[in-house]
Symmetry: C3
Subunit: 204 residues, 3 copies
């Protein structure tokens, strides 16, 4: 899966960029702090998944390419800082592709380790969103996924679709693409129409 590997590397770099941009905006971090938060955003979700599953070595520890991708992402953030801020809304498409892809990769990994499908879907979602949760905890904010437009639930929907199609032995590549597409579509519609999940207690 050469293409998938390239996409994972690109996705990791992109997550580092988006984490760094958030760190710059929300905290008074220096160079190191911004890099650190970009790094945690990029590797946090996959690391947590692998630690919970006891799957060693962690992806970025076994393969230093992910670390280089993060460094490149941080340098690009520095060099193209103004441009990135100005096109921020357009970066949405990359973020959405990133979470979609990492969700399905994480779900697949859990399933391949023999984990129950219900828990595999959660592991897929964790892979995609927990880097952002750790980022928000570090910059001392309530995690944005707890109140933002449908985000983690879009990931869950794709993970569930993947598991259903996998149960019916659908071709893996086709399944991967269609599940990623579902996450992308749900998330895009949610943002376009500003759809959020209702508050739990039904208050405004």
């Amino acid at each position: 899966m050469k293409i998938q590997y390239i996409l994972e590397i690109l996705g990791t770099a992109f997550f580092a960029i988006s984490g760094a941009l958030m760190a710059i905006e929300k905290s008074k971090s220096d160079w190191f702090g911004v890099t650190f938060i970009g790094f945690i955003t990029a590797i946090g979700g996959g690391s947590l998944r692998d630690i919970l599953l006891g799957s060693y070595p962690l992806v970025w520890i076994g393969n230093v390419d992910f670390m280089y991708a993060i460094f490149v992402g941080i340098v690009l953030t520095k060099v193209f800082f103004k441009t990135l801020i100005s096109i921020r809304n357009k970066l949405f498409i990359f973020d959405t592709l990133g979470i979609a892809m990492f969700t399905i990769i994480g779900t697949e990994k859990a399933i391949s380790l023999g984990v129950d499908p219900v828990i595999s879907a959660i592991m897929g979602m964790f892979s995609a969103v927990m880097g952002g949760v750790l980022r928000d905890v570090l910059i001392n904010e309530v995690p944005i996924i707890f109140r933002k437009e449908i985000y983690a639930t879009a990931c869950l929907s794709g993970a569930i679709l993947y598991l259903i199609l996998e149960h019916f032995s659908i071709d893996r590549t086709f399944n991967f693409l269609i599940s990623v597409a579902l996450i992308f579509t749900v998330r895009t519609i949610a943002v376009k129409y500003n759809l959020s999940l209702p508050r739990f207690d039904n208050k405004e």
Copy 2:
């Protein structure tokens, strides 16, 4: 130990309920956020213990029943929300039974893995309280156990009693019950008489 298994499942569901109630009260979380925080509250302590001990698979990953218990807890929270809020003080008894039981189960697990008793007592206490610590970090509060009436120290007292009695080869079931009872008693007295540990620096 069929009864213990049922109690563990019930305890997990209860922790999810109490975490969800806290999330509703203290944050502006949507459905997903509340569920997520309930989930972390329920599995956080045991997961951290198992990760620190390197004991895989984590309990809730090896057995999907715990996940179903959490889902049921969240649905019950939704359906009986008003009732639960109104009887909140009476839920105290379940919370206290929960932390008592999880403390001793965690202590036992660490001991059975050959861990030093001093560290096993800490692992037992972690099992009971770290879910709540993670919950508080996620909703951006200083963990309540750092300043609340005697809570984690009640857990530690029970864990230490358990280890002492175990050292003298007291029957396991009897030991379990009496250690749980100690935690329950210490915590109940602390809440009834509003007892807190003194501040470290003796200021008011």
Copy 3:
């Protein structure tokens, strides 16, 4: 390595003291909370490193001496509280020696487990600074290393020097001492001249 072992124990006790002092100053924690935060500060960095590397048992779980060192540190903090606060600036030297030593020990450990040098340097830095990051998250502050005078970057500089000298097969004890000295020097100069890394976005 008897001397190194004694230094590690002393360093752990010192980290517990500095974590407890910070907890007293920045939070309204009781006895338990202060002890807990001191404990996390002392074991957090090494634990995270070992969990990321999958290296079990964690140092403080395999050897209860570290726990005793932490307890002694907390008791000393209680007994000599006023003295410690008054000489706080002078404690700086111990903190700096501590992070320097733990950086190199962590780097060595990662290398000995066959980890890529780039990642080993990060693991060394994590060993030294992540206890403090966890401490800051628990007391609900943005981690101080994100904005303080050169701190984690001093650790990284020493780790990189160690790896370069190790590459050229320099004697291990000499390498250890010179790399620790570099971290100590960089950090001391940074504090003396109040040097910080620039902000990422070049704003004031």
